[in-house]
């Protein structure tokens, strides 16, 4: 039982990171209708920026600055190229970001080298902690707390601020936003930057446990896809729930049949799609028409 | 005899009740018009009948058969066809190709993978016949997006007819037309109504009053009144509630 608890808890922590990544992804997907392949690279950039900064400014400042820097990168990408694909064939946005991701991964190789680096956890969170019923990594507990905080902040932002209301409206009806007299292009850029920041911050907090390497971005992208499809496109709680499902199922399946642990999320997703074609919490979306 | 019956048809969008327990019978062979202010639920009613959206409650019967949960193409094959208020055509294709696709669907060749499409003589002949019948001859090779708006309106109705429906739903067939074209369409509808049952949503009152056998008035998703042109014209509730003084029924 204790063993099961620890696997469960581990899955929850993993799921929380996945959820943060997927939230940014689904936000961009919902508002811009772009499948953003650069999301994984933005995640990787967050990790690399944090790695380079931590030596100089420490963990906490890097935790703030690195995601902001990633947000700037996202903002630039959106302003320079990605915005040109809006409203066109959905394939264009997808291929454009696919190409960008390829190029940016190479840029990461050129700047930071082909090999990986290990990133140190902050000293106060290094090592493990005896929780009584189990011994657990201190850093992972910190990470879980940070992820929950971020998810709550995003939720508050979407629910409690006027900007959030517009974003939600924008996800379903661009014309409505126009009618509200808001500047749609600026809002889109803003949302893209927010999504990038979320990818970046997930990268920063995940770096100490996964270490950084150029391919880390591609590796996180597929879980994000699964989570968004599983949870339902554009659904906030759908993403969080699906993130937790993916995390927990991956972790717990290790107990029983480790080889299939990374297939499990896909199996769940396929099963859910058979019965709920729009995912767990997805509603009929403008994206389908 | 009613060709189409709706029983307590209801559809909500969020908090809004677009169609509210609507019970209605459409007489076979007649031209029935549905009128009502914007947001009365007319287009939603069409979408419900033709399977584009599913009702929250109630059902629709066609020739006594429940068609509420049939997919669109099944409903079309049973004999209900429709046109759209916002033109819904294959814009990149030519006029000929638009009609051709409809005729082919009706003749059921779509499953043929290996025969050349150009060799379907019966489809081609029927396509030419229909184009001529509806006065569009000579424009076969023009891409639809380059046709005049009036022609496109006609085409919108024409390709709805290729399915050989027994009931045709027309959503604002004169929308956006100048009065000359509008007349052309009214003539056209009158001619049509001798052949099949028509259900028409229309804003242009002159058209409605001149062509309709029967008029249904909707208001906020509900049935407000129905009857002949004269009855509707005389109905004070319609005058007051629906028109709100803005329009006068001429």
């Amino acid at each position: 039982m204790t063993e099961f608890l620890s696997f469960l808890m581990n899955g929850v922590v993993l799921g929380l990171i996945f959820a943060v990544v997927a939230l940014g992804f689904t936000l961009i997907l919902g508002v811009m209708q772009v499948i953003n392949f650069t999301h994984g690279i933005l995640f990787a950039l967050g990790a690399y920026f944090a790695f380079s900064m931590q030596k100089h400014v420490g963990f906490w400042l890097a935790l703030i600055l690195a995601p902001l820097l990633v947000g700037v990168v996202g903002w630039l990408l959106e302003r320079l190229v990605i915005h040109r694909t809006y409203g066109g064939n959905p394939l264009f946005g997808l291929l454009l970001t696919f190409g960008l991701a390829m190029a940016l991964e190479e840029v990461i190789r050129m700047v930071w080298g082909k090999a990986g680096y290990s990133v140190a956890a902050p000293r106060f969170a290094a090592g493990s902690l005896d929780l009584g019923f189990m011994i657990y990594s201190k850093y992972r507990l910190l990470l879980a707390a940070l992820a929950i905080l971020i998810i709550l902040l995003v939720w508050l932002f979407l629910e409690k601020t006027p900007y959030g209301a517009i974003i939600k409206a924008g996800a379903s009806d661009a014309e409505m936003v126009m009618a509200l007299g808001k500047n749609l292009p600026r809002m889109r850029t803003f949302v893209f930057a927010i999504g990038s920041v979320l990818a970046g911050v997930a990268g920063v907090i995940a770096a100490p446990i996964w270490s950084v390497r150029p391919t880390i971005g591609t590796a996180i992208l597929m879980p994000a896809f699964v989570i968004v499809v599983l949870g339902g496109i554009g659904s906030f709680w759908g993403s969080v729930l699906a993130g937790l499902i993916v995390g927990v199922s991956t972790s717990v399946s290790v107990m029983f049949w480790a080889q299939i642990s990374d297939i499990i999320p896909y199996v769940i997703m396929t099963a859910v799609l058979l019965f709920r074609p729009r995912g767990l919490m997805g509603e009929k979306s403008v994206l389908e028409v | 005899m009613a060709i189409l019956m709706t029983e307590g048809l209801t559809k909500n969008f969020g908090g809004l009740r677009a169609v509210d327990s609507l019970t209605l019978g459409i007489e076979e062979g007649k031209l029935t018009s549905v009128i009502g202010p914007n947001g009365a639920g007319k287009t939603t009613l069409f979408n419900l009948i033709t399977g584009m959206i599913r009702p929250d409650a109630g059902r629709a019967l066609f020739h006594g058969e429940d068609i509420t949960h049939l997919p669109i193409h099944q409903i079309v094959r049973r004999g209900i066809s429709r046109s759209f208020q916002i033109l819904n055509l294959f814009n990149e294709l030519t006029l000929f190709e638009n009609v051709w696709l409809g005729v082919q669907a009706q003749q059921g060749h779509g499953r043929e993978l290996l025969s050349p499409a150009d060799a379907l003589g019966s489809v081609e002949a029927e396509t030419h016949r229909i184009i001529k019948e509806f006065g569009l001859a000579g424009k076969e090779e023009v891409p639809v997006k380059l046709l005049s708006y009036g022609d496109r309106r006609i085409l919108e109705i024409t390709i709805s007819l290729t399915a050989k429906p027994s009931l045709l739903l027309l959503d604002e067939p004169t929308s956006g037309l100048v009065s000359e074209d509008r007349k052309r369409i009214s003539e056209f509808l009158k001619k049509l109504s001798t052949r099949l049952t028509l259900l028409v949503v229309e804003h242009a009152m002159d058209v409605v009053l001149s062509i309709s056998d029967h008029i249904v008035v909707m208001h906020q998703g509900r049935l407000l009144a129905q009857g002949t042109s004269e009855e509707i014209r005389a109905n004070p509730r319609v005058q007051e509630a629906y028109l709100g003084g803005q329009y006068r029924l001429a």
Partner: protein
């Protein structure tokens, strides 16, 4: 995907290293031109990762290959100059096969070398066999290349996992304990590591506490670590490689696993240790070779390496470097012995040959019936950061075993290499 990890490369050394790589990339000029320049050189096609997850290992082996080729710069082979033509396999067997085909089909190259991962080695071996070229698998450790994938045209330089465990496991039984738990990377190479360890453990009457099969590309090992911890083993016997290894080491440090059990790596490369850095990995490893061993010629070899590659990402040669060096050197010597530039003749010159200057404690014997290079390997114990005399000094050698005592016998591995090319 053998034993790869990642290497910390500073920007400066990386650039220099890259420059070295460019010097090696000879395929830039069309072969027609190249052939016009030199009097019919002997070409060796190098299929080695310059990108992908194993780029650092690929670079280290190419540095060794270059050193070997340069030994023949003055005298040449059969009076002809030697040229290496380098292709990047991207650590993808499909790409590797394409590049190999290009080398033999278009450039008409007869000799291939390289292959850091087993799938690449298998696919390049397949191409070589079909085109009648000779392939030297320089750096893959899977047992299968000299078993089910054994081919007449393929030779394997490094020791395999059977040799690894037969060298290391007795030491563990003696010094650490008999209760083992296994981490197995879930593919050929991982299975063979755990398989050989289990055979030896069983014979010694030890306790097998279980195994976690770890899927490739696992990013998060916490669940596996929790499971292993619950078993309370004396030794956690790990056969995990690739990019996953660095993450695993990181997380074992995070969970403090090394405090509770002895960590055992059935195979580790200096590149992996270099990537994780000092102090992160305590335990007992098997290594093919270590630059501090007291074998004849090693000191000179290390000195030559440092002189030739002052800006290299890792300041000392690794086992990958040695294998690359030995592979090219022995290939060229065999061409020389054969007296002609002919694949069958060179294969025959390699078969049954003994190499005295192996840079290990025993000579290399190249077995004629499975094409395996039989030579020693080493068990090492990690050094604590304060014991290290420089940043590359990770380990001290605690035991070594000659290749002939650990390699599979013909009874254990009956293979048939088939006919010689063209016969």
């Amino acid at each position: 995907m053998e034993k790869k990890g990642s290497t910390r490369i500073s920007r400066r050394t990386f650039v220099k290293g890259a420059a070295a790589g460019v010097a090696l990339l000879g395929s830039g000029a069309p072969p027609v031109i190249r052939r016009a320049l030199a009097a019919d050189p002997i070409y060796i096609g190098v299929v080695s990762p310059a990108s992908g997850n194993y780029a650092d290992h690929g670079m280290m082996e190419r540095l060794g290959m270059q050193m070997a080729a340069e030994e023949f710069k003055d005298k040449g082979v059969l009076g002809r100059p030697v040229k290496l033509v380098v292709e990047d396999d991207e650590t993808d067997p499909q790409v590797a096969a394409r590049k190999a085909r290009r080398l033999v089909e278009v450039e008409k190259i007869k000799y291939l070398i390289g292959g850091v991962s087993s799938s690449v080695a298998v696919s390049v071996g397949e191409v070589a066999q079909r085109y009648g070229a000779l392939y030297i698998a320089s750096n893959q450790n899977s047992d299968t290349l000299t078993a089910q994938y054994a081919r007449r045209c393929v030779f394997m330089v490094p020791p395999d996992m059977a040799m690894a465990l037969r060298t290391q496991a007795p030491y563990l039984l003696e010094k650490v304990g008999k209760r083992w738990y296994f981490f197995t990377h879930d593919y050929e190479w991982g299975w063979s590591g755990t398989k050989w360890a289990r055979i030896i453990l069983q014979k010694a009457g030890g306790t097998d506490l279980g195994e976690s099969k770890i899927p490739l590309n696992t990013r998060d090992f916490s669940a596996f670590l929790l499971k292993a911890r619950a078993a309370k083993p004396d030794a956690l016997v790990i056969t995990v490689g690739g990019v996953d290894l660095a993450a695993l080491m990181e997380q074992m440090h995070e969970f403090g696993t090394y405090k509770e059990t002895t960590l055992v790596m059935t195979l580790i490369n200096l590149e992996d240790l270099w990537a994780v850095g000092p102090g992160k990995m305590e335990g007992i490893y098997w290594m093919e070779w270590y630059h501090e061993i007291e074998a004849p010629g090693v000191k000179e070899f290390v000195a030559r390496y440092k002189k030739r590659w002052p800006g290299a990402p890792i300041p000392v040669p690794t086992a990958n470097t040695l294998n690359g060096y030995i592979g090219v050197r022995e290939l060229l010597r065999a061409v020389d012995r054969a007296g002609k530039d002919d694949v069958t003749a060179v294969i025959k010159a390699l078969e049954g040959h003994t190499v005295r200057d192996s840079l290990k404690h025993d000579p290399i014997f190249i077995r004629e019936w499975d094409h395996k290079f039989v030579w020693a390997s080493y068990v090492v114990r990690s050094k604590k950061p304060d014991q290290m005399k420089d940043r590359a000094d990770f380990a001290e050698v605690v035991r070594w075993a000659p290749g002939k005592d650990t390699v599979r016998t013909r009874e254990e591995n009956p293979v048939n290499l088939g006919p010689y090319p063209g016969q």
